[in-house]
C-alpha cells in the first residue's frame, strides 16, 4: 500500500557455513536452521507485519533479561570443560561476549540503548513482569550448563545459540528498521548477526573434534534441541505479551482455554528481572529453580 510495502525484501540468511563440517554436523546445522524455534512465525510476522516501537518495547522487555545470562551459561560450562583446549575455545567466545567485539560496551548496555530508543521509562526493565517462558528459558540453560554432560551444554550454546541467533536476528532487524530504529539503536541485533558467525565457526571446530562417536553426537544434538525448544516457547510467550498489550482480553480468553487452544497459557508471571537475578544467585548457591522445567518429552525434533 505504501512505498514501504513494496520495499526490496531480503530472504533471511541461513546459518553460516563453517568450513568442511563433518556430515553429522552439517545435518545438525540443517536441523537447527529448520527448527520452529529459529523459524517461529512471530519472527516472520515481525518481518512482514507492522509492529510499532511500542510493540518492540514489549518484545524487548521480555528479551532483555536473557541478554545478560549467556555469559553466565558460558561460565558454568567452562567449569565443566574436560580439557584445557576446550576451555580455551569457550574462553575465546566468552571474551567477545563480555564486550570486546563491541568496543567494550557489554551486551546488556547495548540492549538498554535499544530499549531506551523505544521509549523505556527508567526502571521498567526491572519491574516488568516476565512471562514464564523467559524463566523457563533461563532455568533450563542454567540446568543444562551445570548438571548435564558437557556436550549437552556445548550443543545448547553452540548450535542452539550461535548457529541460531544470526538467522533469527536477520529476521528481526528489517522490522526494527521499519519501525524507525537506526543502526546505533539496534546495534545489539546487528552485532550478533556478524559476531555470532565467527563464534559459530569456533564452536563448530570444537564440536567436530569432540563428536567422535554416536553417543557424543546425540548429546550435542539433545542440547541443541533442548535450547531451541525453550527458544520456541519463548517466542510464543513474547508474542502473547505483544498481543496482550493491545488486547488483554484475548490472552485471558486463551488462558481460560475458550478459544479452543490445545495449549492454553499456564500462568501468572513468576516474577520480574529483580526476582530473576535473585533466583540466579540462589541457583549458583545450589538452590533449585523456582519454575518447573520441561522434560525431554517436549523436545521438538525436525525430521530430516
Amino acid at each position: 500500500m505504501s512505498a514501504i510495502l513494496a520495499e526490496k525484501d531480503l530472504i533471511p540468511q541461513s546459518t553460516p557455513d563453517a568450513p568442511l563440517l563433518p556430515t553429522w554436523l552439517s545435518e545438525l546445522r540443517d536441523e537447527v536452521s529448520a527448527h520452529p524455534g529459529v523459524n517461529h512465525l512471530l519472527l516472520s510476522r515481525l518481518r512482514t507485519g507492522r509492529y510499532t516501537k511500542g510493540d518492540y518495547k514489549v518484545f524487548g522487555l521480555q528479551h532483555y533479561p536473557m541478554v545478560g545470562t549467556f555469559t553466565r551459561y558460558m561460565e558454568l560450562l567452562l567449569l565443566r570443560a574436560p580439557s584445557s583446549e576446550q576451555k580455551l575455545w569457550l574462553a575465546k567466545v566468552l571474551v567477545d561476549e563480555y564486550g570486546e567485539g563491541s568496543d567494550g560496551d557489554d551486551h546488556a548496555k547495548l540492549y538498554l540503548r535499544y530499549l531506551n530508543s523505544m521509549g523505556l521509562v527508567s526502571g521498567e526493565e526491572e519491574t516488568t513482569p516476565l512471562c514464564s517462558a523467559v524463566w523457563e528459558f533461563i532455568g533450563i540453560h542454567l540446568r543444562i550448563c551445570s548438571e548435564e554432560p558437557f556436550l549437552v551444554g556445548l550443543g545448547a550454546l553452540g548450535p542452539g545459540h550461535e548457529w541460531a541467533i544470526p538467522k533469527m536476528f536477520n529476521q528481526i532487524i528489517p522490522g526494527l528498521e521499519r519501525a524507525g530504529m537506526g543502526y546505533e539503536e539496534r546495534m545489539y541485533f546487528d552485532l550478533h548477526t556478524e559476531q555470532d558467525i565467527e563464534h559459530a565457526n569456533w564452536m563448530s571446530q570444537a564440536l567436530a573434534q569432540l563428536g567422535q562417536d554416536e553417543e557424543a553426537r546425540a548429546l550435542v544434538r539433545r542440547g541443541a534441541l533442548l535450547s531451541l525448544g525453550a527458544r520456541f516457547r519463548f517466542w510464543t510467550g513474547v508474542e502473547r505479551c505483544v498481543v496482550a498489550r493491545r488486547q488483554p482480553h484475548s490472552v485471558d480468553a486463551v488462558r481460560r482455554g475458550i478459544l479452543g487452544s490445545r495449549r492454553p497459557d499456564r500462568e501468572e508471571s513468576p516474577g520480574n528481572r529483580r526476582d530473576l537475578r535473585t533466583a540466579i544467585q540462589d541457583h549458583w548457591a545450589g538452590k533449585s529453580w523456582p519454575v518447573p522445567l520441561p522434560s525431554d518429552s517436549t523436545l521438538i525434533e525436525v525430521s530430516q
Partner: protein, 500 residues
C-alpha cells in the same frame, strides 16, 4: 510435486477475532485449487487458524513441499506474507511460493517481495493447474509468461501475464477436495452451527455496491453451479450444516426452485445457511418458505443502514422497507437472520442511537454492526483513498475507522462498542420460544453448538464491547484525534499518516 496449501491465521497467537468467535469457514479456495492437481501430485492443506504455532515450520521441514500456496484477503495480508517468508526461510530459494485470493488480486503490487515468487490474479483453478504443470515439466520459474492470470518477478522486472478468462462453466471444475480437510472436521462453525461444511454455488454478483469488490473480481458476470451439482456436493458432505459461500445466493428464483426439487427428490436432510439480499426475500416469500422446508436455517444480509440517503450513496439499490419486511418474514418463517449494519465514520451520537433502535425494531437474530470503510479494489476505495488515516492492512476488518471520524475517536468508539449490548433486545425478541418450537430438529442439531457458542459470545463480547480495545489497536498507528481545531488537525493528520 509436493504441494502445501496454507490458510493463514489472520492474527498472532491467541488474539480474538471474528474467525475464532463467530464464523470459522473452511478454506474453500484451497480445496478448489487442490482438486485441480490432486490426482498427479501430493497435496496437503493446513489451516493455521486451527493449528499450534509450531505446525507450519514442522510441516515445512518434514513434508518439504516444492510449492507453497497461500490464500489471502486484505486482513490476512501480513500473515500470508509471513507464511511464505517462513517457507523460504526454512526451505530456501528452491521452494516456489505462490499467493492468491482477493487482496493480491486487487492490489498485487502490495505483495511485491523477494520471498513471493508469483501471485495468482483472479480465479485460481486453471492458473494453478497450468503453473504446476509448467513447473513439473522442469520449465523455468522465470518463464511463466504463457500462463494467464499471474504476476511474477523476472529479475528486477515485474511481469503481468495475460488476463485469465472467466468463461469456464462452474460445473466443469472438479469438485473441491474437501477430504484434504479431514483432520479439521468438526471445527468449522457459524455461531451455534458447529460442524459445518462450505459450498460455493455461484460466482459473481449482478449488483455493483460501491463498498464491495465482488462484482469487479468476477467482472460483473455471474456463473452458477447446476442444482444437480449442488445436490451432489451436499450429499458428499457428512456435516449436518452447510454454508453456501456465494456472496449473493438469492438470485434466479428458478435455479432455487430446481435446487429444492433436487433436495426433496433425493431426501437430503441438511441445514444450510446463505448470504442474500432482502429485496429478494420480500419478493419471493413462498420460495423462502419452501427453502426453509428444504433446510434453509439462516440468511445473512447486508442491512447496511437505517437511513435512505446513505443507502443511495452506497449504491445498494434497496429500500429500508425491504429490510423491515424481510426481517419480519424471516422471523415468521423461523429462519435465523444475521444482519450486517454499518456505522459510518461521520456518525454523531444520535446516529448511533437511531441505528441501534432500528435494529431492535427489526428483531434481527444475530445483528452485527461494522464500520463502513473503503476496502481495496472497491469503488469506495478509489473515491476515498485520500481520506485514509492508515493503509495498514490489519485495520481493514470493518471493525476500525480507517477514515477520520466526526466525533472524537474515543467517543466514536465508545458509541460504536456499545452496539453489542444496545442490540440485545433484537436478539431476544427474534429468538422466541415460538421460533424454536417450530424447528425442533434444528434445535436438536444445534444443541452442542449452543453451549460452545455462548462461551464464544462471551469472548467476543470482551473483544467488541470495550472501546479501549479499538483505541489500543490504533496506538502508534492512528494518532488520537482530535484536539482543539478539528479541521486543521485532520488535514495534518491525513498527510502525516498516509505517507507512512
Amino acid at each position: 510435486m509436493r504441494i502445501l496449501l496454507v490458510q493463514p491465521a489472520p492474527f498472532e497467537c491467541g488474539r480474538i477475532g471474528l474467525e475464532n468467535a463467530l464464523w470459522m469457514s473452511e478454506p474453500g479456495a484451497l480445496t478448489a485449487i487442490a482438486a485441480c492437481v490432486e490426482g498427479d501430485h501430493e497435496v496437503r492443506i493446513i489451516d493455521m487458524r486451527l493449528e499450534e504455532a509450531d505446525t507450519l515450520p514442522r510441516v515445512l521441514s518434514s513434508f518439504k513441499p516444492d510449492l507453497v500456496g497461500v490464500t489471502c484477503m486484505t486482513t490476512d495480508a501480513y500473515q500470508a506474507q509471513a507464511v511464505l517468508h517462513c517457507a523460504k526461510s526454512i526451505l530456501g530459494e528452491e521452494v516456489f511460493t505462490l499467493l492468491g485470493g482477493h487482496h493480491p488480486t486487487l492490489v498485487p503490487e502490495e505483495h511485491d517481495f523477494e520471498y513471493i515468487d508469483a501471485i495468482c490474479i483472479g480465479e485460481g483453478e486453471d492458473t494453478f493447474k497450468e503453473l504446476i504443470d509448467h513447473l513439473e515439466s522442469g520449465n523455468s520459474r522465470q518463464s511463466l509468461e504463457e500462463i494467464d492470470g499471474l504476476a511474477f518477478r523476472r529479475g528486477a522486472e515485474r511481469v503481468h501475464t495475460g488476463k485469465r478468462s472467466q468463461a469456464r462453466e462452474l460445473d466443469t471444475f472438479p469438485t473441491p477436495a474437501r477430504h484434504l480437510l479431514d483432520e479439521y472436521k468438526g471445527q468449522y462453525f457459524f455461531a451455534s452451527a458447529m460442524n459445518m461444511a462450505a459450498i460455493q454455488t455461484s460466482r459473481g454478483c449482478a449488483f455493483d455496491c460501491n463498498f464491495c469488490a465482488i462484482w469487479e473480481f468476477y467482472e460483473r458476470k455471474v456463473r452458477f453451479l447446476s442444482s444437480k451439482a449442488i445436490a451432489d456436493q451436499m450429499e458428499m458432505c457428512d456435516e449436518p450444516f452447510i454454508f453456501f459461500l456465494d456472496d449473493n445466493f438469492l438470485t434466479r428464483p428458478q435455479r432455487l426452485v430446481e435446487l429444492c426439487d433436487e433436495i426433496e427428490t433425493r431426501g437430503i436432510k441438511k441445514f444450510w445457511m446463505i448470504q442474500g439480499r432482502t429485496d429478494f426475500v420480500v419478493e419471493n416469500a413462498d420460495l423462502m418458505r419452501r427453502m426453509r422446508d428444504c433446510g434453509l436455517m439462516m440468511v445473512l444480509s447486508g442491512f447496511e443502514t437505517n437511513d435512505a440517503g446513505t443507502l443511495e450513496a452506497l449504491r445498494k439499490d434497496n429500500t429500508r422497507e425491504n429490510y423491515i419486511k424481510a426481517a419480519e418474514l424471516l422471523n415468521e418463517l423461523s429462519i435465523i437472520t444475521t444482519g450486517i449494519f454499518m456505522a459510518h465514520p461521520d456518525f454523531e451520537a444520535q446516529d448511533f442511537d437511531d441505528l441501534y433502535a432500528a435494529i431492535n425494531e427489526m428483531k434481527i437474530t444475530i445483528p452485527l454492526v461494522v464500520i463502513n470503510m473503503p476496502l481495496p479494489g472497491t469503488q469506495s476505495w478509489r473515491e476515498n483513498q485520500h481520506k485514509l488515516l492508515t493503509k495498514d492492512a490489519r485495520f481493514f476488518d470493518l471493525l476500525h475507522a480507517v477514515t477520520p471520524t466526526k466525533l472524537p475517536r474515543r467517543e466514536f468508539y465508545e458509541r460504536y462498542a456499545a452496539w453489542n449490548e444496545a442490540t440485545e433486545a433484537s436478539i431476544d425478541s427474534s429468538l422466541s420460544w415460538r421460533f424454536m418450537a417450530r424447528r425442533p430438529r434444528l434445535m436438536m442439531a444445534m444443541r452442542s453448538g449452543l453451549k460452545l457458542f455462548s462461551q464464544r459470545r462471551e469472548v467476543l463480547r470482551m473483544a467488541l464491547n470495550d472501546p479501549e480495545n479499538y483505541l489500543r489497536d490504533e496506538e502508534g498507528i492512528i494518532p488520537e484525534f482530535p484536539p482543539s481545531d478539528p479541521q486543521e488537525t485532520r488535514q495534518e493528520l491525513v498527510t502525516e499518516v498516509v505517507g507512512v
